[in-house]
């Protein structure tokens, strides 16, 4: 038996214009939980896709238990005992747990499907690893955490010895995360080797034995987790010292600027997604909406910004009803919006930075010349000053196409535009999703600055860290309803997690 269950030597993989993995080495011992840490774009997913056979490396070797293997496609990986739990589950909603698990390798008796023996095996595996999943439940009826366990069962059913988890906690509540950590330990004690892709340091400290760090496609190092602090890991990941906490000066909130009153919003198919939701946001205050993705957040945002119709209720901005106004009228009334999906709703990728910066006010007097001509020179000048103020890095300044910018700089363009319009209310959704640590720090700092200027800020985020760090008050949403509104200092993440799952907490208002 070799020292390593998995050894990837000198893996290099290039995509057009990018070296995703540059001579990366990964050595995973048998029966350990090995974390793979790196920022977005560091090459973690590429490396795991190579191990799982989704991509082939340009060069490098892979050894399993000391023997060189050639993993041409995921079927080979499965045959070699490698399983992967994807971030986005690959499950059929109206099939049962058992049916989903056997999908693609249905057991037969003669020519007939034999679900009975499969069901028994699923039940047995579920028992053995403490997963407590009902083999007969429909996927659409079980929670996200349980769906993830179905994915784990899928790999176990296929006799996986090595299980790769791709950002497994992104979609879970804190309680579900705790349970997952427990499952990981159990899998380890039953002899499985676990590879955990993540950028969450706390999880690594909690559960992993060793950790390999990648930065910009390169191998930085492998450490014993017990020897290092979270701060050390962060520095390895980013390449410089990182500040975790943001300075947020104490500040008294002013009068109500945004008032949501008894909102009801339906989605495209007429289902009620937000029901009876009321919330006030004051001047100089950041109110966070905490909740698991899909609990009505996007419908709520749509209703406030005017992208979705409001079925019932009223939205007041500075005392004026805006629920019947057009999107443009709401913007004119002082509503700023930093959307969750920045590529879809925030930017026109084929427009330059200058054109994108003027997307909401291009028709103003400021950009008008004779004969209804647009003053592109004025646009560029304004964009130049935003580029300077917000430190937007681009190849050709204001004339750079937004689509060619990095994610962080794209977000800066949006943030710059929204802030430059001096809105009274700033609605912010997932402002740091997919950004690197440096950009996250910067964007958060800017949001705090806007709070200092007296803006009323409504922040929707699925990252509890972000909510706890930035917000003055936290409204927890579950199934389209606000469960409770708490001051940031009177709740902890654990209590919010419980409320996200729908239960009320003692002492909360």
């Amino acid at each position: 038996m070799s020292e390593y269950a998995i050894e990837m030597r000198g893996i290099t993989k290039t995509f057009p214009g990018v070296v995703a993995n540059d001579n990366v080495t990964l050595q995973v011992r048998p029966r350990e939980i090995h974390a793979l840490l790196g920022e977005n774009g560091a090459g973690k997913s590429t490396l795991m896709s190579i191990l799982f056979g989704s991509y082939s490396a340009d060069s490098g070797q892979i050894f399993l238990d000391g023997e060189e293997v050639f993993i041409k496609n995921p079927n080979v990986a499965t045959a070699l005992g490698i399983g992967m739990v994807h971030q986005h589950f690959k499950l059929v909603q109206n099939y049962t747990v058992t049916e989903n698990i056997v999908l693609g390798m249905e057991p037969t008796k003669g020519r007939l499907l034999d679900l009975k023996s499969a069901r028994a095996k699923v039940a047995e595996l579920s028992e053995q690893y403490g997963l407590s999943v009902d083999p007969d439940a429909l996927i659409e009826e079980i929670t996200v955490g349980q769906q993830q366990r179905v994915e784990i069962l899928k790999t176990l059913f296929r006799n996986a010895n090595i299980i790769i988890f791709d950002e497994p906690t992104a979609v879970l509540t804190p309680q579900e995360i705790d349970e997952l950590m427990e499952i990981l330990r159990k899998l380890k004690s039953e002899g499985k080797t676990i590879l955990l892709i993540t950028h969450k340091l706390r999880e690594i400290k909690e559960v992993a034995d060793r950790c390999t760090v990648l930065r910009r496609g390169r191998y930085i190092g492998t450490v014993d987790v017990s020897d290092v602090s979270e701060q050390d890991l962060a520095e390895m990941m980013v390449g410089r010292a990182v500040k975790f906490e943001i300075d947020k000066p104490e500040q008294a909130a002013g009068s109500v600027v945004l008032s949501l009153q008894d909102l009801e919003v339906r989605d495209g198919s007429g289902l009620v997604k937000v029901k009876g939701l009321s919330l006030d946001v004051h001047e100089g205050e950041i109110v966070g909406i905490a909740g698991v993705d899909g609990n009505g957040q996007s419908e709520l945002l749509g209703a406030i910004t005017g992208l979705l119709p409001l079925a019932k209720g009223a939205i007041l901005l500075d005392g004026t009803h805006i629920e019947k106004l057009t999107i443009r009228e709401r913007i004119e009334a002082g509503l700023g919006y930093i959307p969750e999906d920045r590529q879809k709703y925030g930017l026109v990728a084929d427009f330059t930075i200058a054109e994108n910066s003027a997307l909401k006010n291009y028709y103003h007097e400021r950009y008008k010349k004779r004969f209804s001509l647009l003053d592109f020179a004025a646009m560029e000048k304004d964009a130049d000053s935003l580029i300077e103020q917000f430190d937007i890095r681009s190849a050709e300044g204001a004339a750079t196409k937004a689509g060619s910018l990095s994610g962080g700089n794209q977000q800066k363009v949006i943030v710059a535009r929204e802030i430059s319009l001096s809105p009274k209310v700033l609605v912010v959704a997932q402002p740091t999703r997919g950004l690197d640590v440096g950009a996250i720090e910067y964007i958060r700092k800017r949001i705090i600055e806007e709070r200092g200027k007296g803006r009323a800020i409504l922040l929707v985020s699925f990252e509890l860290d972000e909510i706890m760090n930035l917000c003055d008050r936290i409204a927890t949403i579950s199934k389209g309803q606000i469960v409770a509104v708490n001051r940031q200092d009177e709740v902890n993440e654990y209590q919010i997690g419980l409320m996200m799952a729908g239960s009320r907490v003692e002492g909360a208002q």
Partner: protein, 366 residues
């Protein structure tokens, strides 16, 4: 992430030129394969372009005039397609808008007041307006009720064709294929052009076409209306979230798009014919306009150049036949050009492949 210098292949204009050359190249091979001399094809094209007959050394400027005249509806229908395309719409209804423009121009030519200038001007303006209405209807259906513009424009093409027949058959002196001659006041002929081009059909329509090209460029690139439309075309969701009135953009753009095609119909009716036609089938300018816009990348200049090319090919048809080259070769070349345009993404893939190879060499991988 490394930023690479802009290469020629990324320039849409350069790709269009390449695509046209490829079309001619394959066309040449085809002519040779059927046993004809490809040189004769190029002789015909040269004559259509410059009026110079290389075989007998004679010059006839009329051919230049005809090439230009043929180009006018191609360019205008190209603008029609291009304008909608820039807003993210696919206007296949150029043909119907063209037919409606042509029909109303013919009707006013025969029934309108025979006052100099006023008469033809009225007919042209009416052609533009009916084109705009015909296109705008589609825009409203699309913007308000999410009716696919592809389906509604195709259907309206047929409505336009048969409506045109019904109307034109009622016009004075109508037979199954033509009406009475137009009064002189309705024609947009240009006597000066006729004199210098040996009686070609080149007429005042060319000025209107040039005006249309300038208006197209001006609206699209310079005005806030065009800015909103381009934003809508590139990313409808972001445009909407930014408060750009997307519904209005779509409706207006389809109306403007229709106006270009309607103008084309008016110019052909009053410039190329001295009588009204009772259409038995479509003239296909509207459909060819789709190809023109694609080759021209929907820009004002590109569409103009592509329209000139299509006019040249059309004018060369008769000359080719005179030199024993089947005139269908021009359609084949047009078709090839469209196919190669569609292959543009394949070219990009090939370029990416080359990039990757180069990068791998740089980082020292076998």
């Amino acid at each position: 992430m490394t930023t690479t210098k802009k290469r020629w292949i990324e320039s849409d204009g350069a790709v269009s030129v390449l695509v046209v050359l490829m079309g001619f190249f394959v066309g040449t091979i085809l002519v040779a394969l059927v046993g004809k001399n490809p040189l004769n094809m190029y002789k015909a094209l040269l004559q259509a372009l410059s009026g110079y007959n290389i075989d007998n050394g004679r010059m006839n400027v009329r051919y230049i005039g005809e090439t230009l005249n043929y180009s006018v509806p191609f360019i205008l229908c190209g603008l029609s397609m291009g304008f909608a395309n820039r807003v993210g719409l696919f206007n296949i209804g150029g043909e119907g808008q063209y037919i409606m423009g042509l029909t109303l121009a013919q009707t006013i030519a025969l029934l309108g007041p025979q006052v100099p200038v006023v008469h033809w001007l009225l007919a042209i303006v009416a052609a533009i307006v009916i084109g705009a209405i015909w296109g705008g209807m589609v825009g409203i259906l699309k913007a308000r009720y999410e009716v696919s513009e592809v389906v509604s424009t195709i259907m309206l093409n047929y409505v336009a064709l048969y409506l045109s027949r019904i109307i034109c058959l009622q016009l004075p002196g109508a037979t199954t294929y033509k009406t009475a001659n137009f009064p002189k006041t309705a024609l947009i002929e240009n006597l000066f052009f006729q004199k210098i081009t040996h009686n070609s059909l080149l007429n005042n329509g060319i000025f209107m076409m040039i005006g249309a090209v300038i208006i197209y460029w001006y609206i699209m690139e310079k005005t806030s209306l065009g800015y909103g439309m381009r934003a809508t075309g590139f990313n409808k969701d972001a445009a909407r979230a930014s408060g750009i009135p997307v519904v209005k953009s779509i409706t207006i753009s389809m109306a403007i798009s229709g106006a270009f095609a309607g103008l084309a119909g008016g110019i052909v009716a009053l410039g190329s014919f001295k009588y009204g036609r009772v259409l038995a089938g479509m003239d296909n300018y509207g459909f060819d306009g789709i190809a023109v816009a694609l080759v021209g990348n929907c820009t004002a200049l590109g569409t103009t150049l592509a329209g000139l090319l299509f006019g040249l090919l059309k004018n060369a048809q008769a000359l080719m036949q005179g030199k024993q080259i089947p005139k269908e070769i021009t359609f084949i070349i047009q078709g090839l050009i469209v196919i190669f345009i569609a292959l543009r993404s394949a070219l990009k893939l090939y370029q990416e492949f080359l990039d990757k190879r180069k990068l791998q060499k740089e980082v020292g991988i076998k």
